[in-house]
Symmetry: C2
């Protein structure tokens, strides 16, 4: 019998764990990814705020799998499926499979408002992170150039939509950036006047966490001068303002801002749509593919969907969250099933998600940790958060680099990866908007004389 | 008397040294740069080959000048000069000056062939470096996807045009990447079959170095499987080949390649043209502004030009090279002149360039060093090269990060910043070119069975 051909789509937490768990298995694995690296998404907010470099949280897939000789990595975007012939398509290239594992992840969802994407970038990729970094830093640069920041408060107002872990972490990091890192860096503006507003539709931040921790997180953010607006929904997004609505009173609330970041939701990767169409199944509301309790699609025992793209419920019917833990455990589970098949053994237990808990960091030396049997927050929670994140980083070198930069940033309150890169050095929304003649020197030089 | 207004255009080695040398001077300085960071260009080739991250060799200008209260940093592109009114223009913004220091640097020059820019990127900016990194890595990825590399030798052929320090360093680093770092990473291709060709018009590589060191460098590169073509000039560049001409025999020589990197020359920054036009002076052949021996433009004692944009000769009429040392010393010299003026003292010595020597690295533990009174090469030269480069890096954190990554790369032969980023994950020149159907798995899986 020839070796089973396993094709894995996506080198995130789910796909990579599936491949690695098949290391010693007598199969041929092809891992397909659009990118040549595994991205450690939980630390993406640090790239977006200049604390870490992209390469610190990204590891080349080839490098990770260099010694795993049964794994072939292909860089490419899956463009379709040929299910009857058991092949997947990367443009003209056809890759045959016996077993398919789809772990394509999720992308930012604008809740039916695709036009908001350009105005309010999300945070899912390296490019997203460097774009947010560019916008945040350029806002301060533009304010400095235009002079007195009282004239342009919208430039120094940051609105973050979504109070989950990403929103909370971004709000905390931007507050640190503005109130400590950049404190002495400007002459015409005072970065301490920066407004940071975190908008969440739910009654509490971090809705998946116990209320006590949500309240702790909110109090910590407020101490860091972040304004937290719970029970508010975004109605409109424009280049110079957002319109919010209080979900109880339906009062409207306009905030003038040039800086809007979207952290309010995700949606299954678009490849899920293609697969669902080919198989004649219906995606769930979040664009995810419904799977059975063994991670397969009903009627397709050779097609597994894992991670953010899979819609699965636990034993009591509650949907599993779109977090790295679920994806990793599913990857490992699917590999077990495949190993059993190769060994012609039976392995029939359903997938069981072991929820180790949740954590979110708020800022320098502040975090909240929920391990179910114990909840805690503050400095010790931050150390636990740091320990877990560094442990799960894929490569040893990255662990060293992240730790050393973190130690440096912790003690100096500096963030040295504050680069504005990309083609446009200007704030994209401002070029048209602001064209008055100004003398940026008037203020600072008056002070110096 | 009100404080003198000093405007410095460009935060490279020249401009930043001028600003820093005026730290304790009773003047108002405005430093204008298109980018928000100082870039340590000598290590850019490491970013282009995945050894270092952009932020490791870039320091935010604001961070560097944070404590220098007499300096204001403005992010923007100088769009013109109003010399009669002593103002410079950043779009609509006018910045008045009493003394102007233009240190805008240089850009890649294609020697009258601007159409080559898209086909053969140069290496002057962070974006250039990540673009070269993307192209180099994507070439290997595409070859792996298409299968047997014998079918597509042009994908794995790299032609570097220009045998100065940048070309030599790039050739060495790409050789290391292909022959050691990536050695085990592919299944369908063998990266050791990579061809790296370094083309230099001159009889020797590193034309500014003593012949003995040039010969050493060439021998070292050849040991690393780099083919060195001296006395060859580029006649044509196409997306799939270059046409070279032997400058002695005029024989033509075609090389099939999808990967061409341009390291063959620089030209003064375009802002130099505007300034020359406004002042009615003529640029030299390299697009540089002729300056007097005190770094001023003749007839304009308040306008200094320093660094790569200045055309200056030494005491015996030899043009000063476009290197960091010259720019730094000129920056310091101009600051001395300004300090003397503020103190109403006289300071009339002409600028004297103290040439400490030249060095270039070839690869892992190999370099050549010319200190005029002594020349050496090999491991000790590499340590000297490393020491000098780490010393001149601007920020302490960057020194630590670069050193630790270098140590890591040295011992593991890894290069972890091998990220393909940017919009196009595909090799730009290949999409149209290669559209055959292939089965990338055939080869590797035949081997495994």
């Amino acid at each position: 019998m020839s070796r089973l051909k396993i094709v894995v789509v996506g080198g995130g937490f789910g796909g990579l764990n599936a491949v690695a768990s098949l290391r010693k298995c007598n199969v041929d694995i092809t891992l397909i990814d659009r990118r040549n690296f595994h991205l450690f998404q939980p630390l993406l907010y640090q790239v977006a705020t200049g604390g870490l470099s992209p390469a610190n949280i990204a590891s080349p897939l080839r490098s990770i799998l260099s010694r795993q000789k049964n794994a072939l990595v292909l860089l490419g975007e899956v463009t379709g499926f040929d299910i009857p012939n058991k092949q997947i398509l990367i443009q003209e290239t056809r890759v045959p499979f016996d077993i398919l594992i789809v772990a394509a992840g999720s992308q930012t969802s604008y809740l039916g408002h695709p036009e908001w994407e350009k105005l309010a970038p999300g945070l899912k990729s390296i490019e997203d992170a460097t774009e947010i970094r560019r916008r945040v830093l350029t806002a301060f640069e533009t304010a400095e150039k235009l002079g007195d920041n009282n004239k342009y408060p919208s430039l120094m107002t940051f609105v973050i939509v979504g109070g989950g872990p990403t929103g909370v972490e971004l709000a905390g990091a931007i507050s640190e950036l503005a109130h400590t890192t950049l404190r002495n860096d400007f002459r015409n503006i005072n970065p301490e006047h920066t407004r940071i507003i975190l908008v969440e539709g739910h009654e509490y931040l971090l809705p998946n966490m116990p209320v006590k921790l949500s309240e702790n997180a909110k109090a910590s953010l407020q101490k860091m001068k972040v304004e937290v607006l719970n029970k508010h929904r975004v109605q409109e997004i424009h280049s110079d303002h957002v319109l919010l609505e209080n979900s109880l009173t339906h009062e409207k609330h306009r905030i003038d801002t040039n800086n809007i970041i979207w952290a309010a939701g995700v949606h299954g990767a678009p490849i899920g749509e293609k697969l669902a169409k080919d198989l004649g199944i219906t995606l769930d509301r979040g664009g995810r593919i419904p799977v059975q309790n063994d991670c397969t699609i009903a009627g397709h025992p050779d097609i597994f969907v894992i991670g953010d793209l899979a819609a699965m419920t636990n034993e009591v019917g509650k949907p599993l969250p779109g977090v790295a833990q679920v994806a990793m455990q599913q990857g490992h589970y699917v590999a077990q099933k495949i190993r059993a098949k190769v060994d012609q053994k039976s392995f029939d237990p359903p997938f069981h998600y072991f929820d180790k808990g949740n954590m979110a960091t708020i800022g320098r030396a502040k975090a909240v940790v929920d391990m179910h049997w114990i909840q805690f927050s503050g400095w010790f929670a931050w150390v636990a958060w740091l320990f877990v994140h560094i442990t799960y980083l894929i490569q040893f070198q990255n662990r060293i680099l992240v730790m050393s930069q973190w130690a440096w940033n912790y003690f100096t309150r500096n963030r040295s990866a504050r680069l504005i890169t990309g083609d446009a050095a200007q704030h994209p929304q401002l070029i048209a908007q602001l064209s008055e003649k100004t003398d940026p020197l008037a203020d600072s030089q008056a002070k110096n004389q």
